[in-house]
Amino acid sequence: MGMTVVEKILARAAGLPSVKVGDVVEPQVDLAMSHENAALVINQFQEVFQGTGLAPKVWDPSKIAIIFDHRVPAESPKTATNHKKIRDFVKANGITKFHDVRGDVGGICHQILPEYGYVRPGFVVLGTDSHTTSHGALGAFSFGVGATEMASAWALGIAVNIEVPATIKVVVKGEFPPMVGPKDLILHLIGKLTAQGANFKVLEFHGETIRKMSTSGRIAICNMSVEAGATSGIVPGDEETVRYLREEAGVTEAIPCVTPDADAAYVQTVEIDVSNLAPQIACPHMVDNVKPIDQVLGTKIQQIVIGSCTNGRLDDLEQAADILRGKKVAEGTRMLVFPASSKIFAKALDKGLIHDLMKAGAVVMNSGCGPCLGVHEGALGDGETALSTTNRNFKGRMGNPTGFVYLCSPAVAAASAITGVITDPRNSN
């Protein structure tokens, strides 16, 4: 019996000729990523060493990445002190893949990792963030863990007791209609699978639509795979993966890709044709409460948000700017834009996109997690409604338990900013 991509990756990383679903393996970790919650990882890590007589030392500082993104710049003395504690640890341990609060190399962890070539096809990537699934876009097996599991990986260099997950094969065909794209695809898939439909499983993406999709789009779909409960989303590495890593991340080393065997076993196959897909909206308060846009047209929106690790890349900002150029954000609606990284911000500046968005009335914020998880800025008022290109709409997600969050593509968000109500971008000009 052949192996899926993730089975192949785990077999290689665990030093085994082959693995199958349910096997318990302990893969070597190729990259261990944390953000601000490294403060807790450090605490747990130091506790591991208590009473051992050993000095707390990470297994390999070159394989640890720490990126400040959840609350940047710090919103409180508490966060600033966490940042400080992490900086000291980074320095003491010689961690080089560190991205501080900076306007040149800063950004959201799930954008920084691909952008700097830290993730390669075939890697085992652990991150103390559920959206670590994003890095499956580059053909890696990449999954979210808690802080204590990360502390264990920092100490041992392996992921302990990993059960080989079953894989769902997702085959996507057809060409996206205008104003419909990867975000609509993943929302549609989550609606179909439900929020726990892929719990403990991997989503492996195939088909002509995926092959033609940019790495940016692939990041969006892998990012949100966790919203169907998936351990990881993964697009087997291909020509586009190599192109991205060479041209955009400046990788010069060989980039071997891992592909599944033709006779690999899948627990389920899902086929989707996007040729007639309408823009999709995830309605409050669950990500799998997905409806085609015509069912929610006209819903009044107080806050539009474009950005995040899901949809804050250059193509997303470009699409939004194209729609908003020469137009104005509706009165009574505010629009927040936060690019996924400083590099993207700078490129958007060079292309004039930031100017277009600001002229339309958008507030452009620094790169970071911003309003997405309601910890920092862009909170909703009581009973207010947001339309956002981010990835979660749970009750209270945008900082207010009485608020409502709808999730959508950048095209829908931009078109709706002009009208102040949920608007179909296919009909606006």
Partner: protein, 164 residues
């Protein structure tokens, strides 16, 4: 016998258990104050220590979905409650095992607030209704971590074994 102190709906997210705005608080000694913060009454009861240790939260499907924030487990662990749910999201389940929070997957569970539940090795018995419900066994691979008392002591033992 432990009682059900709250019965929750499906898809309880970690944002619900521990809202994102308190994420700068990380230490397990400090997180319990924010448990279910936006369920004001329940949060107040937890903080007032209204419930004895071992009291049970009953959840529906997909309990603990969403963010990987470990505070969602440490906050409940701090209140010494147990979770019985129809299904549990992967990261939350793993975090619970790692921290030693008692979680039980019980797909057929039927219980109301105030019911007395007896959790044994392979079932949950609702003493109030007289009905028993089968548990889904946690993966055997997790047993080592549970037997060691959590992932920290487990990792410590592995580290020492590596040195020897």
């Amino acid at each position: 016998m432990p009682k059900v102190i709250i019965k929750l709906e499906n898809d309880i997210s970690t944002d619900d258990i521990y809202p994102g705005r308190f994420m700068a608080t990380v230490l397990p000694t400090e997180t319990p104050q924010f448990a279910f913060f936006d369920r004001t009454e329940f949060n107040a009861q937890l903080k007032a220590k209204t419930f004895p240790a071992g009291s049970i939260i009953v959840g529906g499907e997909n309990f603990g979905c969403g963010s990987s924030r470990e505070q969602a487990c440490s906050t409940l662990k701090g209140h010494e409650v147990a979770v019985v749910a129809k299904s549990i999201s992967r990261i939350f389940l793993q975090n619970s095992i790692n921290l030693g929070l008692q979680v039980v997957i019980c797909p057929g569970i039927e219980a109301s607030e105030g019911d007395e539940l007896e959790i044994t090795a392979d079932q949950v018995f609702n003493k109030t209704t007289g009905k028993a419900f089968a548990q889904v066994k946690l993966p055997a691979a997790r047993k080592g971590i549970m037997d060691a008392g959590g992932l920290i002591p487990y990792t410590r033992a592995r580290l020492m074994a590596k040195q020897a």
